[in-house]
């Protein structure tokens, strides 16, 4: 039983990172109907940005908590700006082009980010310094570290913040309006280009945060890590009903749990095959995702 709970806790931790990343996929898809293939790599860049700060700061004698926060903020800001740059360069000129063109551009952006990271940091693994305290506590035979709890709380806070932003502010309302009908939103005086940039900024910030946390948690990062995480996060976005923000949060946790339990009870080698099988099954049985709204095509 305690084993089971341990897997549950681990799954939720991984799931929190996936949720954060899935949000970017779902927001960007919601607003410009693009599967942003570069998003997983934004996550990877976030991990490397945090790594750079940590390595630089490790020499200085600064409290650990401060360094970690600095790495997190730096990672988030850097990826946020990077997301904006990618959107400006690779996507904005193609917003009204055929859908496939922008998709290919996204594949190009993904490859460009991976290659840049490889050229700068090398093809091997980079190791985060072991900064997080290993201290923790036990509940019902399950061991939790404070760092684990802290990161989970952080992820949840970010998600709640995003939800409030999208549903309670004027800019968030503009975003939702844009997702419904871009032309109508433009006619209502919404600066469409700027709102799209904002969406990319927010989505990338969340992915960057997830990247830094993943680095802190697992300590091993490399230039290709964004691919698999990206696939899983995208699966979560679809599972939650693409374009659906709370759906992506919940589905991210579900995929995390699935991953954790599959690795424990089946085999780590088959984990991703299982993730995709579940995805295909869900899509066949309920093509709009677990919480997606039915899109009725008007005839």
């Amino acid at each position: 039983m305690s084993q089971f709970l341990q897997y549950l806790v681990n799954g939720l931790t991984i799931g929190a990172f996936l949720s954060l990343t899935a949000l970017g996929y779902t927001m960007i898809y919601g607003i410009i109907r693009l599967i942003n293939f570069a998003h997983g790599d934004i996550f990877m860049v976030g991990a490397f940005a945090g790594y750079t700060v940590l390595v630089a700061a490790a020499a200085a004698h600064v409290p650990v908590a401060l360094i970690v926060m600095a790495a997190l903020v730096a990672g988030m800001l850097f990826t946020g700006l990077l997301g904006v740059v990618v959107e400006r360069v690779a996507y904005q000129p193609l917003l009204s082009a055929p859908r496939l063109a922008i998709l290919i551009s996204a594949l190009g952006a993904s490859l460009a980010l991976e290659e840049s990271a490889r050229l700068i940091f090398g093809a091997g693994f980079s190791s985060y310094p072991h900064l997080l305290p290993t201290a923790g506590f036990g509940v019902a035979g399950v061991r939790l570290t404070y760092a684990q709890v802290g990161m989970f709380v952080m992820a949840v806070l970010l998600m709640v913040g995003l939800y409030l932003f999208v549903h309670r502010t004027m800019l968030g309302t503009a975003m939702r309006a844009l997702a419904m009908d871009r032309d109508a939103a433009r006619l209502m005086g919404i600066n469409v280009e700027r709102i799209i940039l904002l969406t990319f900024f927010l989505g990338s910030v969340l992915a960057g945060a997830a990247g830094v946390m993943q680095g802190l948690y697992y300590t091993q990062i490399n230039f290709i890590m964004g691919f698999l995480i990206g696939l899983r996060a995208f699966t979560a976005a679809v599972l939650g009903g693409i374009g659906n923000i709370p759906g992506a949060m919940v589905a991210g946790l579900l995929i995390g749990l699935l991953q954790s339990f599959a690795a424990a009870y089946v085999s780590a080698r088959w984990t991703d095959a299982l993730v995709f099988c579940v995805l295909i099954l869900v899509l066949v049985v309920k093509p709009t995702g677990l919480f997606g709204e039915r899109i009725v095509e008007r005839v």
Binding site: I104, L107, G108, A273, L283, P287, V299
Partner: protein
């Protein structure tokens, strides 16, 4: 004139292909073995690109896991030659069958998915296949299989680099020919209509589910040949050859060249495979440069390097002068005699959530009639059409079409394409043409369910005598274009036509299926008075040619002047039925439109509805 132009460009294309083939044949004479093996890789990806082009380029279905078919072909062939001792050529049919089955497996569950979900499901499928190959013992796990014998011809095994190059060239030419024949076949037209508008394709008679599945199967089969070739060439396969990146590369071959374009695919293969090799001088930066070049290409030339030619009108004959009424009597076979029951709608209901969009509606249309359905917005008229034509399944009720080979046909619960085949065609409220196809091709797709009646013989000689579109079909297309007055617009793209022309083209597309009755959904919406008059004439001509007409319309002038009978709906229910005069005087109808409980002044009625009481 278009005929001459068509022939010239066709000859030029043929010359281009001949030169390309000659260059490809001569290449080993001048190329070193390194270059030649790159060229063989280019050919492999050209084959894969041709296969994927069928799925993505022709049918417009996004596939991000195409490497799976490549893998299935390669592993099937390798396992059979290693475990069962079969020769390369003997394994080929098995590899093709295995990939075709793979095509069905991936195709079947995804048939009803939106294109974005299709992307992720195909991606997932590709990953699943790769993970299976990595983890099973029989596939050799991560190390893969090796020692696969080379292909042999007449007892001589082909191991030399030029020999393999020529084998690859032969396969590529075969894939090219297959693609070319398919693109000109009925299937090719059906795929393109699917790509343009799936709902409309189904509603004009294309069995979209089967046609989609065939796209996956045909596309997979080509990959199923490339796989064994790849395995036999290197004598080994391992899972790293079938990653997501390979699927992306194959997709790029199709996109960079230009979707649906055969020369484009070849050029794409050259660019995607040979360009990174050519960039070896900048060694480490080549993938980065390649990635940036890809973005630049999409930003500055999203249609690809060598896009498919603008589709020309299918019939290359003399343009037919506009609207030759007498010549256009349709061969509507076996319908009930004039005045007899043709279409019976009995107790049809459909609710959406708590709303009864259509509530127990019953009426009959007789042969040779024009029946109008009117009612305020939201009365359920279009939903009723959708229930009759199979686009929406009714919750209750029966729809029966009389006449035809079987005497009568029950239509409710049938797929839309079967309803068309039974003899009931329709148009849409918001015009739904295949915008990227020529006007003539739009009508041609409307002929899909009568293709067997037209026969397979083609007027264009060798153009795929087996699957090509017959001369009789082209004659039909010309006839219907002429009937609606578009005889000289066959070569124009549907999107280039004026609003009124588009309305008429949609009617021609519906009529091309030789229906007993045609259902027109607000044909006069947005037309000006001149166009409206022409439309009235056209509707009468359709009726006079023996096709009954059911009309949804808001324009009272038009309804009152052309209709034999009028059915009035309000809030899902039929509230009146009768001749225009009877309906005009019906108080419930006036109330439904003007919402008045109290006595409505005659002037208001006249002002709003244009009825003179």
């Amino acid at each position: 004139m278009p005929r001459v132009l068509g022939l010239v460009s066709e000859r030029r294309a043929a010359a281009g292909w001949a030169v390309t083939l000659a260059v490809a044949l001569a290449a080993p004479l001048v190329m070193g073995s390194y270059q030649l093996s790159i060229a063989t890789s280019v050919l492999t990806f050209a084959m894969l690109g041709l296969g994927l082009n069928i799925v993505v380029g022709y049918a417009g279905l996004l596939d991000l896991g195409y490497a799976a078919f490549f893998a299935i072909g390669a592993y099937t062939s390798s396992l059979l030659s290693l475990e069962a001792g079969l020769g390369f050529w003997q394994t080929l049919p098995f590899a093709v069958v295995a990939t075709a089955i793979g095509g069905c497996i991936i195709g079947y569950p995804t048939l009803r998915l939106r294109s974005d979900y299709l992307a992720i499901v195909t991606l997932g499928f590709g990953e699943i296949v790769r993970i299976i190959a990595t983890n099973l013992t029989i596939t050799g796990g991560p190390n893969g299989l090796y020692g696969i014998p080379a292909p042999g011809i007449a007892g001589v095994s082909i191991t030399s680099i030029p020999g393999l190059y020529y084998l690859g060239l032969a396969f590529t030419v075969a894939a090219l020919l297959l693609s070319w024949v398919l693109s000109r076949s009925w299937l090719g037209y059906a795929w393109r209509s699917l790509r343009e508008d799936e709902t409309a394709a189904e509603a004009v008679g294309v069995p979209t589910v089967r046609v989609k599945l065939l796209a996956y199967v045909m596309g997979a089969i080509v990959g199923g040949v490339a796989g064994p070739f790849f395995a036999a060439r290197f004598g080994a396969v391992d899972p790293t050859s079938f990653t997501f990146l390979v699927s992306v590369q194959i997709l790029l071959v199709v996109i960079v060249g230009g979707m649906g374009s055969l020369p484009g695919v070849l050029l794409g293969a050259l660019v995607i495979i040979a360009l990174p090799e050519a960039l070896r001088a900048v060694a480490d930066f080549r993938l980065l440069i390649f990635a940036l070049a890809l973005i630049a290409l999409m930003v500055f030339r999203p249609q690809g390097l060598w896009p498919a030619p603008r589709p020309r009108g299918a019939p290359r004959g003399r343009p037919v002068p506009a609207a030759p009424l007498e010549a256009a009597a349709p061969a509507t076979r076996g319908q009930p005699a004039a005045g007899e029951d043709l279409l019976t709608v009995a107790g049809v209901s459909r609710r959406f959530g708590g709303v009864r969009a259509v509530d127990d509606v019953s009426f009959t249309v007789r042969t040779g009639e024009i029946v109008s359905i009117i009612g305020p917005n939201g009365a359920g008229k279009t939903t009723l059409f959708n229930c009759i034509t199979g686009v929406t399944k009714p919750d209750a009720g029966r729809v029966v079409l009389h006449g035809g080979r079987h005497g009568r046909r029950v239509l409710h619960r049938r797929a839309p394409h079967r309803v068309v085949a039974a003899g009931l065609a329709r148009t849409f409220q918001g015009i739904r043409l295949f915008d990227g196809l020529s006007a003539a091709d739009n009508v041609l797709v409307g002929r899909y369910c009568r293709r067997r009646r037209d026969g397979w013989r083609t007027s264009r000689g060798l153009t795929g005598g087996l699957v090509g579109v017959s001369g009789a079909t082209h004659a039909e297309v010309r006839r219907w274009l002429g009937f609606v007055g578009l005889g000289d617009r066959g070569d124009s793209l549907a999107r280039e036509l004026s609003y009124g022309e588009r309305r008429r083209l949609e009617i021609a597309r519906a009529l091309a299926s030789e229906p007993f009755a045609v259902l027109l959904d607000e044909p006069a919406a947005g037309t000006n008075p001149t166009e409206k008059n022409e439309l009235m004439g056209l509707i009468r001509q359709v009726r006079d040619s023996g096709v009954s007409v059911v009309l949804i319309e808001h324009d009272m002038d038009l309804v009152m002047s052309v209709s034999d009978r009028v059915i009035v709906m309000d809030q899902g229910q039929m509230i009146a039925e009768g001749t225009p005069e009877q309906v005009r005087g019906n108080q419930r109808v006036i109330d439904a439109y003007l919402g008045g409980e109290e006595e409505t002044a005659a002037e208001t009625v006249e002002e709003v509805l244009g009825w003179r009481s």
